[in-house]
Symmetry: C2
Subunit: 462 residues, 2 copies
């Protein structure tokens, strides 16, 4: 008899699961229906800043696969279809057709929860004013873009993390006057202050006004109900458009209401096969999850963490889909690897920075080196700064941060694989990495940093 | 009592050893004398093509540290000083002062053999004609350069490996008419034919005439004794300047004459601490070696190999120097990682390619993927081709090759670390690598290749 798989959430996690399950089970064996409450499914949300910045010409360019293409694969992707209730006992979802305004019930044998994450929206006066946007979905992105094209001249970005910086740059590219407001005393809390400072200078170099240590108190609105200004502890900043980049939270209301327990990060709890843990601590039979709605395992801190990134969502979706399809796959956890580009400055990290290492209880040394991504005797060698955090005594790598120009940031992957294997900085310094003058000095910056970190480890045997 | 360390060979391996020993032992404890038969010591030979090509303005830019700087460190670097005889029993070297034409003896307590490698020069008629150059030393490079500046218009490069390609590009940049001659049926034997073909097209795109399958028979000379043409099996190619890029052999005449055994590659045999193995199979007391004159261990094939690269030389020199200084360090072997850039095409490899895997007795699958180093929806995403070789059944990575444009080749380091740890392609596909649209698609090309390779492994369980 044909089983039915219902996928709630039509983006990276959910649709990768659907596609993988379909690869292994034909339509006569498994019917697949994916529900997406927005107007778009299967898209690159990471591309939104580049769409707003004018580098991506149509919104369709950001769509990886259309519902028509999924249809050909035998996957029924329904847009504007919101799962409003989940009944695990009766194994059914109540779906709201947002276009028709009607509800219907959909039974399932297997269920994938891929409800993603919701942007943090602090309960400030005026937060819901017209012109105040999050940038999680393509719909969000298109709304921001049309505000810009409608003549917005002054943008305020609230939050100095990846999304905030990328959006500030996008606005600056479009010629808007941009202010970036951050409540903490610095931008990029995902880096240590020394490296974050390099990023802050780059964004200021673009003409963006950076205001740190200024919590937002209110969004002031005009008589038309549109945003007029962002009011911070430091004063009022006039704004035609406001973007919130304050992080995200797992979107788990539906699952929680259905009785599924949440982890300490607020995300769904799964095992390595992406099976959702039920109220009794065992597998909630036939229920899987993937992507930004789940919490995962940090391989260095060994803590449960919530990391909302497309890379994890697609990998987890693949694992869930393989398992639903009758295969065997597991998700091995994350390192907290991340990368971005601000103007021509490349920024990356993996593992734990100093603050995170402190929090996880490690004692550590650090080493920071400045080098280049071409041999120094070639014209204009691009600068690179590499910082490593290594455990005291053992010398085990705990984390790495890189800021630099062309060719700098992707070196983080080398360190991510080293971290994956619990390498010591001594061993990292001996790795057989590639060298030729167009790519760096004979000792790659990564290796120099490892040597220097090892020196620091041996200098302090306490 | 003060001991004396004599280092034979004044480049990466020898002088890194000297500097590391000096860091740990003061001048009263250890006198250090380094002998270099050329006019330059401590330089980047890899920079020679860029010097010939005009990107490096003075030869001094390629010198890492001058003898005067070494002097300040308490290291006596002697130029034009050739070690012509080595007496291990009496622990003395006979040194020829090439400027004065006189010999003197120098006793030692510790000895580092860092005699490098010598370019292969087949015994062809005319091979020693004026205008036929190798490019191993700065002296070689300056000779080529002055020939070019003296008005040479037609260059022939013999050998289609890294050096040959880099020199062909350098000549082309200088406006010479360039022919690249290769005896084998294709360029870049360090890659499999499919990827090597991409490189051949790039060098042809520069206007270089590529002639493969044409062994050189003779160098024809003019009445002035200068090179006039390169005669191959395919005909005569007029030439004002000829460069040989036919690989290198360990330069071990001195050591062999002193009774030290050589390995199957012709290189000196050392243990992991870079102690030279003597005739009795034990440590030749107080004798160390580093760099292009030693053979080393390939971590994938487990065979003894000779890989003449500055990266290994500096690491081995460091290991020897730490140990001479009373510390403890070991050299863990190599993966055969290499990288180069031909025009705007980046080329890299690590581990074994198909031919090498065959030779090592592996059975394997391969996967080749074409992707981009920016998200496909951004303007002009640079192309990247990644090829993986993975062992059958186990799925263990055996090697990787990358050819592509901006941002492509340094991804080889990620695979080199994976290879270092015997990772399977299944596990590689789960690695937490960095992602943002300016750096690639959400599945990094490396991960896509690993997934595809794993599919190939599971598709053939025989």
């Amino acid at each position: 008899m044909t089983q039915r798989l219902v996928v709630i959430g039509g983006d990276a996690g959910g649709l990768t699961a659907a596609a993988q399950a379909r690869k292994r089970r034909g339509p006569d064996d498994l019917e697949i229906i994916a529900l997406e409450r927005g107007r778009y499914a299967s898209y690159s949300a990471c591309g939104i800043p580049y769409r707003v910045g004018g580098e991506v010409s149509t919104v369709d360019d950001l769509v990886v696969r259309t519902p028509a293409e999924f249809k050909q694969q035998g996957i029924d992707v329904r847009l504007l279809a919101e799962a409003v209730e989940l009944d695990l006992d009766r194994r059914a979802v109540t779906v709201r057709d947002l276009a028709a305004g009607t509800d219907y019930r959909l039974g399932f044998d297997q269920l994938v929860l891929a409800t993603g994450a919701a942007p943090a929206r602090p309960p400030l006066p005026g937060i819901d004013a017209t012109g105040v946007h999050s940038v999680r979905t393509l719909d969000d992105g298109e709304a921001v873009r049309s505000t810009v094209e409608g003549g917005a001249r002054r943008a305020v970005v609230v939050g100095g993390g990846y999304v905030g910086l990328e959006m500030a740059e996008a606005f600056a590219r479009r010629g808007l006057s941009v202010t970036l407001v951050e409540a903490a005393d610095r931008l990029m809390s995902t880096l240590d202050p020394d490296l974050a400072g390099l990023v802050a200078r780059a964004i200021e170099g673009l003409g963006v006004h950076v205001r740190t240590g200024e919590p937002v108190r209110e969004i002031a609105t005009g008589p038309d109900g549109r945003v007029a200004a962002v009011v911070t502890s430091g004063g009022e900043i006039p704004a035609d458009v406001v973007v919130l980049g304050l992080g995200v939270r797992p979107n788990t209301g539906l699952a929680e209401a259905a009785g599924l327990p949440l982890g300490r990060t607020g995300g769904l709890i799964t095992d390595r096969r992406m099976r959702v843990t039920g109220a009794d601590g065992g597998w909630a039979d036939g229920v899987w999850a993937a992507g930004d709605c789940v919490q995962t395992f940090h391989r260095v801190s060994r803590a449960a963490v919530h990391v909302a990134l497309g890379t994890h969502a697609t990998k987890q979706g693949r694992v869930a889909g393989v398992n639903i399809g009758g295969g065997y796959a597991t998700f091995p956890g994350v390192l907290g690897t991340a990368i971005t580009k601000v103007c021509d400055l490349e920024v990356a990290r993996t593992g734990l920075h100093e603050g995170e290492a402190d929090q996880a209880g490690f004692r550590y040394v650090t080493a920071t080196v400045e080098s280049t991504t071409r041999a120094g005797y070639l014209p204009d060698p691009p600068a690179i700064t590499v910082k490593l955090v290594a455990e005291k005594r053992s010398g085990r790598l705990l984390g790495a941060q890189i800021v630099g120009r062309e060719g700098a940031a992707k070196r983080i992957d080398t360190l991510a694989v080293a971290l994956w294997h619990d390498m010591t900085v001594e061993d990292i310094a001996n790795l057989d990495l590639s060298y030729a003058p167009p790519f760096g000095p004979v000792w790659d910056p990564v290796l120099i940093a490892a040597r220097k970190a090892w020196d620091a480890v041996t200098a302090d045997p306490s």
